[in-house]
């Protein structure tokens, strides 16, 4: 399925990441957005508010982020593609409905333009401190998908990808931007609609007698219907059976939660998306995501010039974590270096997958600005010394 040309601003644009995210959502077929103003994400919904009435979309500014994050799910069950947009403090408030979306298998997109925390922190300045929150923020066991753009172009491209993943697997998907990417203005190429491929909702096309809303086939993702189709579905955040009816038994819990888990973990190789540069034959691999993938470049180049064999592994999809690739590399390189704008989050995953075979050096940063490449360079050099 291709994008609807009516919503696609084909051409070259000079816009920031927030605006590009908005255009990505429209191109992806998103026609419902609920949001609440919060720096540095507000420009996304401001542009949505301006664009939506011209493309058949509905935007509503809700009373808070809790309301926004559940209003989008109402819209999804009425047949829309929907997203909400926020930053740290709002993201914290939305966690309740991340869990609801996971439990009810409601495809939707949460955009988090990360700023420095904790709490109100530095509202106008970047960080990557919400990465573990994106993975574990809501209570209970569930799997998450998170994608990390490093440019306005990717804010466009990966917003579409986020929608596609959410429809494919019926999960909430996080677009984990940061203030730097959100407010960075660069050239953004929007392709013609026919070159944008979309994953449509996985509709059930049979009759109501043969339908159980939460019975999944071999790929573990059930087919969906919407309110008003005459199916009289029941959807609950309680543990439920295939009919969607509450079932408070241990077997029902085990069956449901295991499937919700497996439908992502067993597809993790397909979902994985990373970009490698000179990783083959590398001695040290720098693992980055988001804006850090760009601040690391001068450091990597300098180290290479000085004769170090440095590879660059940039994670486009951070969750599910590409465990397999890190394990593989851990068995043949000397060290990982993980620069991130937090005090050590994704580095924990790199360490876990390295399983003690090679060290993983964090180049941490409390946020507020991006890394100085010098610090990442020192991290690369020290990672070798540490052995």
């Amino acid at each position: 399925m291709n994008a609807d040309p009516a919503g696609v601003l084909t051409g070259a644009h000079f816009i920031d990441g927030d605006h590009a995210c908005c255009e990505g959502a429209i191109a992806a077929g998103c026609r419902f957005v609920a949001g609440y103003p919060i720096t540095p994400s507000t420009e996304v919904v401001e542009r949505i508010a301006e664009r939506f009435p011209r493309v058949g979309g509905v935007f509503i500014q809700m009373e808070d982020e809790i309301a926004s994050s559940i209003a989008i799910q109402g819209a999804v069950w009425a047949g829309k593609k929907a997203m909400t947009v926020t930053s740290g403090p709002g993201f914290s408030l939305m966690m309740e409905h991340v869990g609801f979306a996971a439990m009810t298998e409601t495809p939707c997109v949460f955009v988090n333009v990360q700023r420095a925390g904790p709490s109100t922190g530095l509202p106008t300045q970047p960080a990557q401190g919400d990465m573990m929150q994106a993975r574990w923020g809501s209570h209970g066991d569930y799997q998450a998908i998170a994608v990390c753009p490093n440019s306005p172009q990717e804010c466009f491209d990966l917003t579409i990808k986020a929608f596609n993943l959410s429809e494919q697997y019926r999960v909430p998907v996080f677009l984990m931007m940061d203030e730097c990417v959100g407010h960075m203005t660069e050239r953004v190429l929007i392709p013609p609609a026919e070159e944008i491929s979309l994953v449509p909702r996985r509709w059930f096309l049979g009759s109501p007698e043969n339908y159980e809303p939460f019975r999944a086939g071999p790929d573990m993702v059930p087919q969906m219907v919407k309110a008003g189709d005459g199916f009289h579905i029941h959807v609950t955040g309680l543990t439920h059976d295939e009919r969607g009816y509450p079932n408070m038994s241990v077997p029902a819990q085990e069956k449901l939660v295991q499937r919700l888990h497996d439908k992502i973990t067993k597809h993790s190789a397909t979902i994985a998306d990373y970009v490698e540069d000179q990783v083959e034959g590398a001695d040290i691999v720098v693992v980055t995501y988001g804006i850090t993938s760009r601040t690391a470049l001068p450091a990597i180049e300098r180290a290479r010039k000085e004769g170090l064999k440095v590879g660059h592994l940039r994670l486009v999809v951070v969750w599910p974590f590409p465990e397999h690739r890190i394990r593989e590399l851990a068995s043949r390189i000397s060290a990982f270096v993980v620069p991130e704008m937090n005090m050590g989050q994704v580095v924990l995953e790199v360490e876990r997958c390295s399983a003690g075979k090679v060290p993983a050096t964090l180049v941490g940063h409390t946020g507020g600005t991006v890394h100085v490449p010098e610090d990442i360079y020192q991290g690369i050099v020290n990672s070798r010394k540490g052995r």
């Binding site: 009435p53 011209r54 058949g56 799910q73 109402g74 999804v76 309740e96 409905h97 005459g230 955040g237």
Partner: protein
């Protein structure tokens, strides 16, 4: 086991609203003497006589005893998170305006944790019907004090009696902009049914508060007898006063209950206002939303 319990004598008359209920989910979870089931019966009858298309009617609940209502109705039904039925309903309605969306939940769910959503949906005149069952307590969690618990009433978290003022919900709804506001009790089944039907057919934010006994927790702790005793209290202390000024209808512990239709007015709904305004401003550039699209 549930099936065995419900192998009924075929000669017995069938419950006239059975087709509106998910009979495969019976028996329900409510206690003997609880008033919620009575209100569901009223709702089902009201819905049936309203002529609304049942395929296009969705019901949304939050969490709690009344939060279980959605799951027993044979409609598109959504059992959401605590307090968030109204914003979920908002998304559902705006995404497909052809749907009739009903929110059915309890006093704690809608007026405490969901209070913010309640006042904003009323302010926007969101086109949803809100049915609030007020049993004066948090039943599901064991009878804690609620924003609707009358002063001096004992609850598990106010063991010496409640010293907070209770919400006057009809006044709250009216002052925020609801276009239809009524209050009845589980004793007034005919009035309740009629009020729900009116609310269902009213465009905009319509609100029906229904007082219902919670014999297991609220009545027992306050030594008010069983469910029947509370129905007697409703019968003997209710005064029908249509058009009453909502500021005069606050509830007191075992005091007089003013019931009736308090507000019935017309204001543009959120959807109508949005549509009219954007059409005016954008002219031919305005592309109104249509149903579906994913």
């Amino acid at each position: 086991m549930a099936e065995e319990l419900y192998e009924l004598d075929e000669n017995l008359p069938v419950n006239p609203v059975e087709s509106l209920l998910r009979m495969d989910r019976m028996p329900h979870i409510w206690c003997p003497g609880c008033g919620i089931g009575t209100t569901v019966n009223c709702f089902a009858q009201a819905l049936e006589s309203s002529g609304l298309d049942l395929r296009k009617t969705a019901i949304v609940s939050g969490i709690g005893c009344t939060g279980r209502v959605a799951g027993y109705l044979n409609l598109d039904s959504f059992h959401t998170t605590h307090g968030r039925a109204i914003p979920f309903a908002t998304g559902l309605k705006l995404a497909n305006p052809e749907l009739k969306v009903v929110v059915y939940s309890g006093d704690g769910d809608l007026s405490a944790i969901g209070g913010n959503h309640f006042i904003h949906a009323a302010r926007r005149n969101m086109d949803v019907t809100v049915i609030l069952i007020n049993n004066s307590t948090y039943g599901m969690t064991g009878g804690q004090v609620a924003p609707t618990t009358p002063m001096t009433a004992v609850a598990s978290t106010t063991p010496y009696g409640n010293f907070e003022s209770a919400f006057n919900l009809p006044a709250l709804a009216e002052s925020c902009g609801a276009v239809y506001v009524a209050r009845w009790t589980a004793f007034h089944v005919r009035h309740t049914t009629k009020a729900i039907k009116e609310a269902l057919l009213k465009k905009g934010f319509s609100f029906v508060e229904i007082l219902a006994p919670c014999p297991t927790l609220y009545s027992r702790r306050n030594k008010l007898g069983d469910g029947l005793a509370q129905m007697v209290y409703y019968r003997e202390n209710s005064e029908i006063r249509h058009g009453a000024d909502t500021k005069d209808v606050a509830l007191e512990f075992q005091g007089k209950i003013i019931v009736g239709k308090f507000v019935d007015r017309v204001r543009p709904t959120f959807g109508e206002a949005m549509d009219r305004y954007l059409r005016e401003r954008l002219g031919a550039d305005y592309l109104p939303a249509t149903a579906g699209g994913a």
